[in-house]
């Protein structure tokens, strides 16, 4: 087993275990911090797939943005002293059965399907290619994305301000 294979297993293990902690932990703060492992592990998987720019974006936006936002929301809303507010097990057993069957079906399907062998993999920098695609083929979605972000920003400000009633 080569070094890269071992690193791949390690990253996959970190990703799956911390995702499991997000799903099963009884304390919401542990869940929020476990998301860090999942997001970093997914960034590592992107590196293995030769997507360096997406990996950097993942670290910047998920770890630097969304995770901090989630932690702020946890600290602002959750009374730190009572830990057990979450997860009062409405349908834990049925959900476990449904998800277990689903994961079994998905993994069996993936294993049985004959995936076509591809050419030899090349690892090259993708940033210039992605920039070209954004400004030629995907120009309209790119501009729409900026509109969506503006709308989301205004919406978040409007929703979270304090209303002063007369």
């Amino acid at each position: 087993m080569s070094v890269s294979t071992a690193v791949f297993y390690l990253i996959a293990l970190i990703t799956v275990i911390s995702a499991g902690m997000v799903a099963f932990s009884r304390n919401i703060i542990y869940s929020a911090f476990s998301l860090l492992g999942t997001f970093m592990g997914v960034a590592g998987i992107y590196v293995f797939l030769g997507a360096d720019f997406v990996a950097a974006v993942q670290v910047l936006i998920y770890v630097g943005g969304i995770l901090v936002l989630i932690l702020f929301a946890v600290m602002l809303t959750h009374r730190i002293t009572d830990v057990e507010v979450t997860n009062r097990a409405a349908g834990r057993i049925p959900a476990l059965i449904i998800v277990g069957v689903l994961v079994y079906l998905l993994i069996e399907t993936l294993r049985v399907t004959p995936w076509v062998k591809t050419k030899e993999l090349v690892y090259a920098a993708t940033t210039a290619n992605i920039g070209d695609l954004f400004l030629y083929s995907y120009l309209l979605p790119f501009e729409l994305a900026s509109l969506v972000l503006l709308a989301a920003m205004i919406g978040a400000v409007v929703l979270s301000r304090k209303e002063i009633k007369e």
């Binding site: 890269s4 294979t5 791949f8 996959a12 990703t15 799956v16 499991g20 997000v22 799903a23 919401i28 869940s31 999942t38 997001f39 998987i45 293995f48 997507a51 720019f53 997406v54 974006v57 993942q58 936006i61 943005g65 969304i66 936002l69 989630i70 929301a73 602002l76 809303t77 959750h78 507010v85 979450t86 997860n87 409405a90 834990r92 476990l96 449904i98 998800v99 689903l102 994961v103 998905l106 993994i107 993936l110 995936w115 090349v122 993708t126 290619n129 992605i130 695609l133 954004f134 995907y138 994305a145 969506v148 972000l149 709308a151 989301a152 920003m153 919406g155 978040a156 929703l159 979270s160």
Partner: protein, 103 residues
Amino acid sequence: MSPNELSSYLIIGAILFCLGLFTVLTRRNAISVLMGVELILNSANINYVAFSHFSSGNADGQIYAIFVIMLAAAEAAVGLAIVLAIFQLFHTIDVEAAETLKE
């Protein structure tokens, strides 16, 4: 399972998706539900990038992944603002408490 096979990445994506689905199904805490949604979006992104890497070799799948990340950021901002508004109104973030549209 090895780093040179498509199916290993798809299996990781499937496991992440199912854990996210479990989180969304079992939690009543609105922030936990949002965390489950983030897990599901991450699994979809892994599939996009993996198929792009192993099939065509061009960067189209990576473009879609970046769009998904962007929309996830917008979703997190608006969703958490709604959660904070619900908390100010009902003093809880249990999703079953917030069942009225008006005060």
